[in-house]
Point group: C2
Chain length 258, copies 2
C-alpha cells in the first residue's frame, strides 16, 4: 500500500474514501470507512485526517466521518453540471405543478443514468431516484431516452450486458428493449409502467442543448393508478424540455458575455 511516485495511488485512495459514502451510508466510523474503501485502518486513519484538514471530510462530535463542506464547495466550481440542475429547476417546478409527484433531470454516466435534480410534490409516491444517485439505464424512462440517443455501438454494447430485473415488469430481453428504444427515439417519449417500482410509471423526454444535441432527459415518476393521461404527461414534459433548452442557451450566452 505504498504511495506510487506519481501519486496515482493517493488519488485512487481519495476517490475510494469518498466513494465509500452513499445515501444509505452518509456517515461512517473510521473502521467501516477503511473497510468500504479497501484500505488498511492505519492508512485510512492518516488519509482521513489529512482530508479532514482540507475539509473534504468532516468528523462529527461522536467520531463518525462524513463528506465535508469543502468537497461541496470545490465541486460547485463544476459550473456545468451543477448549474444545469439549477437552471432547469424553475421549469421542473412548472412541470411538477401540472402533473404532480416527481419531476427529475438526468444524464448518462458510463452506463448508468445519473439524477442531477429532482422536484417532488409533498405527497409524492415512491421514487428510488436520488439527486446524485445512479440507476440502471434500461429500467428508467430517462435512461431509455438517453440510451436511445447514443450511437448504435454504445446502445448495442449496453444491450449485451446482463440487464438487472428491478420488478417483474422490467424489460431484460435485449430484443424487446431494442424495440422500446427505437420507439423512444422515433416519438421522443418513453413510458415505463412499473419497471423500477411496481406501483409507479416513469416517463421521459429528451432535452436538447444549445447546439441541438441531447444533453439530458426530463422525466416524471407518477403513481400508475392516479397518473394523468400519457398525452398530458408527454406535453408537459416536452414544454418543460423546451423551456430548459432556452434557459440553457440564455445561460451559455450570459457566460460567454462575462
Amino acid at each position: 500500500m505504498a504511495n506510487s511516485p506519481s501519486g496515482d495511488s493517493v488519488l485512487d485512495r481519495i476517490v475510494r474514501v469518498l466513494s465509500a459514502f452513499d445515501p444509505q451510508h452518509p456517515d461512517l466510523t473510521l473502521s467501516s470507512l477503511a473497510a468500504r474503501a479497501d484500505l488498511p485502518t492505519s492508512t485510512a486513519y492518516r488519509l482521513v485526517d489529512d482530508m479532514i484538514g482540507h475539509d473534504l471530510l468532516h468528523r462529527d462530535p461522536d467520531g463518525r466521518i462524513r463528506v465535508g463542506v469543502g468537497m461541496w464547495e470545490l465541486a460547485n466550481r463544476a459550473s456545468d453540471t451543477m448549474s444545469m440542475g439549477r437552471i432547469a429547476r424553475p421549469h421542473m417546478l412548472a412541470v411538477n405543478a401540472q402533473i404532480g409527484q416527481h419531476v427529475q433531470l438526468a444524464i448518462m454516466r458510463e452506463s448508468d443514468v445519473l439524477f442531477l435534480e429532482r422536484v417532488s410534490a409533498p405527497q409524492a409516491g415512491p421514487n428510488i431516484a436520488h439527486v446524485g444517485g445512479r440507476l440502471p439505464t434500461h429500467a428508467s424512462a430517462a435512461g431509455l431516452i438517453l440510451l436511445a440517443q447514443q450511437p448504435e455501438h454504445v446502445r448495442e454494447s449496453y444491450l449485451r450486458r446482463d440487464l438487472a430485473r428491478m420488478t417483474s415488469s422490467t424489460i431484460t430481453d435485449p430484443v424487446v428493449l431494442r424495440g422500446v428504444l427505437d420507439e423512444a427515439r422515433r416519438t421522443g417519449f418513453a413510458r415505463l409502467p412499473g419497471h423500477m417500482v411496481a406501483s409507479s410509471t416513469s416517463c421521459a423526454v429528451p432535452i436538447a442543448g444549445p447546439t441541438g444535441e441531447v444533453v439530458a432527459a426530463l422525466g416524471a415518476v407518477v403513481d400508475t393508478e392516479t397518473a394523468p393521461p400519457d398525452q398530458r404527461i408527454h406535453e408537459a414534459l416536452a414544454a418543460g424540455a423546451r423551456a430548459i433548452r432556452l434557459a440553457l442557451r440564455r445561460a451559455q450566452a450570459a457566460e460567454a458575455e462575462d
Copy 2:
C-alpha cells in the same frame, strides 16, 4: 515538488487544482490552471490527466479543463450540506413569492459567509452571492446574523481583521459593527442597505437546527427603492426560517429511521 511519503502533498495539489476554478474561471487552459494552482506545468499535466481519469476534471473538446461531474457525484455524498439547501428550497420559494428578488441560505465558513442555495425572482436586481460562493461576512446581512451568534472571542477576532469596504455604505468600523451585531442578536434580524451592492438592501434572520443552535441564515436581497417594508421582510423570513427548521427536523428524524 516531490510527493511526500505520506501523500499529503498530493492531496494539497489536488485541492489547489480544484480551487483554481471559480465562477469567473469555470474553465482553464492547462497552463493557466498550472499557474493558478502554483504547480510546474509538467506536474500539473500529470495530475490533471489522473484527475480526468477519475472524472474529477473534464477536458473540453477544445482542450480547456473544467471540474468534472465525478466531483459533483462524490460531493453529493455530503448529505448534510447538500441536503440542507434542498430541504430549504421549497420554503425559500414561498418567501420569494412574498417579497420577490433574491432569497438565499448561508452558513459561516472560516471567516466568510458561504451561500448554499439561492432562489431568485425572474427580474431580480443585482446580487453578487453565488451558490457555492463566499462573501465577506460583515457586508452581508446573512453574515452578520451568523457572526452575531458566534462566541464572543470569534466575533472579536473577526472585528480585529481588516474589514473590506464593498461600497461607500459598508461598515468597516469595529465599534459601529459591534453595535449592529448586538442589535442583530437582540432582534434576530439584520438589515444592511447598500453595504454589498449600492442599490440593494440585504436582510437576514437565523435558522435554528433540530437542537436549537443556529445552523444557517435565511437572507433576502431586495432593491432598496422598491423593497417591501422591513416588518414584512422580517416576518416573511422568520416564517421561512421556522418552516425550514421543521423540515430539517423531519429530515433528521427520517434519516434516523433509515
